[in-house]
Amino acid sequence: MTQHEHTALSEREASVAQDTQRTPLCLLIGNPNTGKTTLFNRLTGQNARIGNYPGITVERRSGDLTLNAGGAERVVEVVDVPGAYSLSARSAEEQIALSAVLGWAENPRPDLCIVVVDAGQLARNLYLVTQLLELDVKVVVALNMIDEVRDNPPNAGELSRFLGVPCVATDARHGTGMSELQRAIGAALAHPERAALRIAYPPALEADLTRVSAALPSAWRESTARERALALWALTSIEQDDELQGVDPALRARCLEVRAQAGARDIDREVIATRYALIDAELPKLYPRLESHPKKRKTSERVDRVLLHPVFGFVIFIGLMLLMFQSLFSWSDPAIRLIEACTSLSANFVEAHVPESILRDLLTRGVIGGVGNVVVFLPQILLLFFCIGILEDSGYMARVAFLMDRIMKALGLHGRAFVPMLSGFACAVPAILATRTMERQRDRLLTMLVVPLMTCSARLPVYTLIIAALFPPSRVFGWLPVQGLLMIAMYLFSTFITLISAGVLGRTAVKGRRVPLILELPPYRMPSLSGTLSMMWRRAVMFLKEAGSGILVFTILLWALLSFPRPAHVDQPPPPVASSQHVPSPIEQSYGGRLGKAIEPALKPLGFDWKIGVGLIGAFAAREVFVSTLGLVYGIDDADENTTPLRDKIRQERRADGSPAYSPLMGLSLMVFFALSCQCMSTLMVVYRETRAIRWPLFMFGYMTTLAYAASLLVYQGGRLLGF
């Protein structure tokens, strides 16, 4: 019954193998949580280049590995493929692994697949290995995390015999087995032969495979083994409503036809159960003893009895999340202040040494201000990714998803969205970057779209100014301060709206297929500091490179909008005038000022005048800039939320009839507007960078502005009807 079959190398592949000029390409592939990324960092020395897979915004990390084979150095490119449990796919995202392995869809063709398997979970991990071997690709297996199964270590030699490919025991976290793995990689690259795995499926399925094979496009028929494996892949991936890319219509029709004719037979079960039967039969030979409940799991379960406890679990969870939030919110503050101080020092330096001109203003307010606007995000980004690195590495992040799934599910969000959402209370920019911890594009997108609704720290100066200027410091019931209550109300309001928006957007704009949750609670591990630090570094560099230039350009454009045309006589001292007489400030005559006046009719129903309008335009640079822009409108330089003159100006502002222009009701309307509108170009820029599609930042701006306008209108007009 055993069939032996010689796998003939296609001529093209033989020529590739001989072509020593080309840098060989190795893929690092494996299940999630197998230490793939740690191994990648070990092999490539963390010189990762980060890009995207062709046609899809999924991160593709590649780096160089220098092999030292017999004195001669050889550079090999290594690509870290997103973790996958199987090659079968129903979406373009899940298809990445297969496309990368076969060099489809503009992916470069790899010379070798390094499959990383968890030495403690061979049964599940070997499933992917059987699929790869069936595909007739060259494979080297890294039997990773071998340190965690010291009491029952699998036999690498026996595994190698079973699979017919080299297997090397490794421990990427501590660097064990790296030179052996490199030797195996070098040897496999030099060796043109490889062995395909041929699993005998039930006869009825074999007949189906023959029929599907006949419909495969010619590009998919490189060898008999691959043809058969791709027929299997097609039969277990193609569905009536899948979202796969590049599937030939004839093949699709054939697969659907074969499935329809299968009748009572269960094709998926035939394929999967046969593969597992093969693995199960081999397991007793691989491990010294078969354990259905491995020791390392028992240790983690003991820890989980506390960390996932209905009471203590949540207490610890809330404590850890508060700690993380506190670090983002408060501990980043000294660094942020330092950056702001450096920015203003540089601006002052330029102002002192360059004669007054447009160029000087461009330098100080545009360029230096813009660079400051970019760098100021770094403390929070670094801190957040430090926390995420520790949470992921220790295995606690999976527990966060496990604990919060019930709540997040109701909102249509993934459990892992919790950390980005919480970070949104500090700043939307790092929070949006943090959505990358989620695997699915749809989950990332939905989280990104609602995170900017959370009350970020840049809204606080605006709220502080409005509350201090327009609301009396009185107390409710004699002891509850009105001002503090308002601040808390704004937080609650924004959280409430965020949750509602997630529910609505998840059912409308980013309506993805309902994807059931599949979560793995990995054993607890000591987090690796070097891995976390390198991830923080990579994220920071990526932010500077990708979003930095855009934020800089927008800062300069905003500066120009609020500075041109320049008034003719800047140096002319302001004539002494009575307070009722209006003196136009330079900003009033700028394009931005004119724009503010032009949109005044639209803002009137919300209770805003053109001055607020100009402030709103300025606030695009960052929400807190609203305060200093409003200050400029009133001719106050360097205003902040605690500046008394600005508060007084706001209180004293009168309408033509002498009544106060700004009422507490208008203040509330303005705060609601700020809570919901997308007054932050950095957020928009980061969303654009993360989605690589202009429509998502535009959509975000559109829906948030509409929401803000509608809510403010309701507050102001409703309040007036009620007689406020």
Binding site: L122, A123, D268, I272, A273, Y276, S292, H293, D304
Partner: protein
């Protein structure tokens, strides 16, 4: 009985997996094939999802999906179920164990 009706600490054997095409396939690919021994490790404090241990690996799924996985108490006669998994006749099932063939390099 189905997986959602089990108690923490129970050991059960999968008899059948139902559900929507691609998700059902994914569950089976993660090891939940008929004949598999599953230990129910825990339930999240809010009642969902469940944490399972199968083939030495952790897997958490929601109750809604666990309802589609039929199980029987105890370790069951897995050979019988495995045979049933592959074809309806034991002779086909036996194929799987001997199924590995390899090309000589």
């Amino acid at each position: 009985m189905n997986l959602a009706q089990t108690q923490i600490g129970q050991v059960v054997t999968v008899t059948h997996v139902a559900g929507e095409g691609s998700f059902r396939r994914r569950l089976m690919e993660l090891g939940l094939v008929p004949g598999t021994r599953v230990e129910v490790i825990g339930v999240a404090p809010l009642g969902d999802p469940l944490e399972l241990l199968l083939r030495g690996s952790s897997l958490s799924i929601r109750r809604a999906e666990a309802e589609g996985v039929s199980v029987q108490l105890g370790e069951g006669s897995s050979a019988e179920l495995a045979a049933d998994a592959v074809g309806r006749s034991p002779s086909n099932g036996a194929l799987a164990a001997r199924g590995l063939a390899r090309s000589a390099p």
